[in-house]
Symmetry: C2
């Protein structure tokens, strides 16, 4: 059982670092989101739409996590937003240490909202806190309604589920009510938004949820 | 750099077990596929279609890997095929040991083709051999053309790429030629099939590829 105790120690060590990150974020009145999903579910597009909608009301910073490439950070940099790219170099999730290593690049006093886009992966990111206030996950309707039962930890850990790509529903066998029901079975407290980041449908409710939580001084 | 050496040892230990698995598969004339993709890209549906098409020509066995649930194994069991479900209980990939633990459940002498459906994850499964002859990956067109550059290891390791859900292309901004070009940049030797597991379009070429490789005695 040696490997299991190693994993537990790694998680406990990470929890301590994440708590320190969180304390620093709290001092600065910063609301922090750990944004997670499978590859290609629409995290970066959601970020682009969210920045476009809220940039006049609050100061937003972004941390982009990817195994490799700076593709996503370049997309966000076009929005003239403070963004840092983390390349995990093989690791399938972000952890507290990686987030701490970005601190020099931000002026947290100036920011109201920090969104951490995790590595595209429905498994491990849910295990590693980074110092977030809440975990938010995206599921694309193309992924199917069996994902909550097959990847329960992420659904259990997430405060918000955005069901994305609803514009594709007419062309799929998957029903959004089935995703909703299966997700609520795993986590009855989840706040669920049905959205299309492509058409913008449903995003206003997500923006409203954010507005209610981000302190603007 | 302690953590890196731990990871290296784990991978080396796994490689040795995978080689032993492979030797046993070879003795039994079994062709073994390690099937990988993001969650919801269509691995289980591809399996169902492949079993339906080839069951009269060869004996097929399946190992289903999931973090949790026996949903996929139940789908395959409906096909009256030998199938074993592995629940990794948190681990985001299968490894050689987990595969070895299923051996009692199979009569390998009777089988010609064993397909191992890995945990839905575009990162870690590519690092852990299970004893396969080839790695085959699926990418859904809904995931976008930036996946090869963001998740290069899996594209580099895979002999075959199935680009799935082509029936959705009319409703997406993503172009299949862009996925193809980006994938070949990472791995110029990849064999690529464009398929729709829903409509069946393009699957005949995949079945033909399998027929050419599986020994039937």
């Amino acid at each position: 059982m040696k490997s299991i105790s190693v994993v537990r120690n790694v998680l406990e060590a990470n929890d301590r670092i994440a708590e320190q990150n969180r304390a620093l974020f709290d001092e600065n009145g910063l609301f922090v989101i750990n944004l997670m999903s499978s590859p290609g579910a629409g995290k970066t597009t959601l970020l682009e739409k969210t920045i476009d909608a809220l940039r006049g009301e609050m100061e937003i910073g972004v941390i982009e996590g990817d195994v490799q490439s700076s593709h996503d950070a370049e997309r966000i940099a076009h929005k003239d937003i403070d963004v840092v790219q983390i390349n995990t170099g093989g690791a399938c999730h972000l952890d507290g240490n990686m987030i701490r290593d970005t601190f020099d690049a931000f002026d947290f006093k100036r920011l109201n909202l920090l969104i951490v886009e995790n590595v595209g992966n429905l498994v491990c990111p849910a295990e590693f806190k980074v110092g977030e206030d809440v975990k938010v996950m995206i599921l694309s309707v193309t992924e199917g309604e069996d994902k909550p039962v097959k990847y329960p930890l992420m659904f259990r850990e997430s405060t918000v589920l955005l069901i994305n790509k609803t514009d594709l529903l007419p062309y799929l066998d998957c029903k959004v009510e089935d995703i909703r029901r299966e997700a609520l079975k795993i986590n009855p407290d989840m706040t669920i938004f049905e959205v299309s980041c492509k058409t913008g449908e449903g995003l206003e409710a997500w923006f409203g949820w954010l507005r209610d939580r981000v302190k603007k001084e």
